[in-house]
Symmetry: C2
Subunit: 342 residues, 2 copies
């Protein structure tokens, strides 16, 4: 391995000077700088990142926490590739790397473990849920002053760094859209309220219904678990109340598609006999039949913002007041929510 020492010798300078050149520190003669760079090039010298981390007492790694549940596909491809790419883009700009941790639900009860070994300087946490245990472990992280940022989740009554999308407004728009298309009897299929998204969406739905002077009868509220299967099963229930429902707003695409599949078996076709809007604008929304109207979420930007938020905390002024960022969503209209009785 080529070290700083050899470069210094070849360039006829001290090791400190080599470091200064590579870190762009202090004033120095251009000639010296060039001599050093030339020597480094000749020797193919590259600073040892580990030694740098050791000396700087910073790993240069941003931890990214993903929930892992075997055989349960929580995320769409879009979610993964876009969020990770967003984070990746940002960390690269700041000379950082991404260290991935796939945590099972009980492992995520001790986030501090991630920081203990000093392998990460901060974390972006994806897919956290609002359980008492999780709240507690996040509060613990915060108390210890370990920098982290949540993505797509916030906690009532607690104040963390977080980047979320405006799911209330998104849902409001979705329901308004259905109303504009002539639908009145609009059901809402939600997922677990462990995810703040879920309650946000319920709020948006409720508000849109109220604003339109529509009543939310109990049959209009369906409970699922974000899986296609739960959507499929809800279709049976929906079918019983078919006189009282002409549209469904579902809290994610997967359930929306399950629902469409289930109702198709009864002979009801989305976009013809009833309308559906989903959430996430995942790949599946474009692949489904008919293509599913859905609420687009700017995952790439969310990842990028979250990473920025953590890294500025790590590198610069630690802002003591948590920064809450909320990006806007966008309704993508497709065939599944066509005008009533077209």
């Amino acid at each position: 391995m080529v070290t700083r020492k050899e470069v210094a010798e070849l360039a006829g300078v001290s090791e400190a000077t080599v470091s200064r050149v590579f870190n762009g520190l202090g004033p120095m003669k251009l000639a010296t700088k060039e001599r050093v760079l030339e020597a480094a090039k000749q020797l193919d010298y590259h600073p040892n990142a580990i030694a740098q981390s050791f000396a700087r007492r910073r790993s240069g790694n941003l931890g990214v926490v993903l929930p892992y549940m075997p055989k349960v596909h929580l995320f769409s491809a879009f979610y993964f590739s876009e969020i990770l790419s967003g984070i990746g883009e940002q960390v690269r700009e700041q000379g950082y790397d991404m260290l991935l941790s796939l945590l099972t639900p009980d492992e995520s009860l001790d986030y501090t473990r991630l920081y203990r070994s000093q392998k990460v300087d901060g974390c972006v946490i994806l897919g956290s849920r609002n359980t008492p245990q999780q709240r507690q472990s996040l509060e613990q992280l915060q108390q210890q002053g370990l920098p982290f940022c949540l993505v797509n989740q916030h906690f009532e009554g607690l104040s963390f760094h977080e980047v979320d999308a405006d799911h209330v407004e998104g849902s409001y728009q979705a329901v308004r859209h259905l109303q504009d298309e002539g639908y009145r009897k609009i059901a809402f299929m939600n997922g677990s309220t462990d995810y703040s998204n879920s309650s946000d969406r319920l709020r948006g739905y409720t508000q849109a219904m109220n604003d339109a002077g529509l009543v939310i009868s109990p049959e209009l509220l369906l409970q699922g678990n974000y899986s296609r299967k739960s959507g499929y099963e809800a279709a049976a229930k929906l079918w019983e109340y078919r006189d009282q429902v002409d549209a469904v707003f579902a809290a994610n695409d997967r359930m929306a598609i399950g629902l469409m599949q289930g109702l198709r078996e009864k002979g009801w076709i989305a976009g013809r006999d009833f309308a559906v809007v989903g959430c996430d604008d995942s790949d599946a929304a474009k692949l489904s039949d008919p293509p599913l109207s859905s609420i687009n979420v700017p995952f790439y930007e969310m990842g990028k913002e979250a990473a920025r938020s953590v890294l500025t905390g790590v590198l610069g002024a630690r802002s003591d007041n948590p920064k809450q960022i909320q990006l806007s969503t966008q309704l993508m209209v497709r065939q599944s929510s066509k005008r009533f009785s077209d």
Copy 2:
């Protein structure tokens, strides 16, 4: 930060002894060990991973290379979460961590960059393609003795560590299945042959057709780029030759679904008027209408094997003969390939 020194002092031993206890090295008195552990516990001591890396001259990180193309969704959720989980499981068993790199096509022309800074001890490379430049940069890696393993890709004429699935056999089974269901005029829609999967699948298809005594006329060979759009566009062409085609085997699910969407617009329904089988058994296969028959690939195991392969190379005896692992695939039969004229 609590260091080894403080633990040593509290336990009344030398620093070396503390290290020995934490690394389980050498014979030592049980009493000493317990005293050290007790002291460590009291102080909440945890070894500094960076200092360890520095001293050991190993980062303890396995690099994972993913291709990044903005707005192009190469992978299914299944692919991501399963492969990463497989790698994650294995690295954890060996006390390693995962360092993620999202590389654009031209960045991946210089893989050595990843190793230069010493932040990773080895790499698992996903989504590499068979281009002259990539071949060259991989050969360069190999020559320099940097440990890496490819997943789901192999290179004709070159011998790298790699973990692949048996796409030839998988495709053979898929086409056999279509034949068993009564189909004879079976088209094959392939993706870019930059991916070895593609040529493997063509081989399986060809062999199955030959074995059944069926001719492969030129109209039966369709070219796509693994996108839904290309599948959709191929539907138009297929429609022209509809007398000469009664089934399609597509090299991924996305194209298969695009094809089904396109032909549905002509009034042809998969599983009724023609049959389709895809590849990957992605989530989309279950979500599509009708559900898509597809070839399942053991992504989790592939990730795990790849990580194992690299890490044993890093840690133990560097086997000079590259290890090529091939796992088997499994056909998942769904509605899209129902029996002819049912």
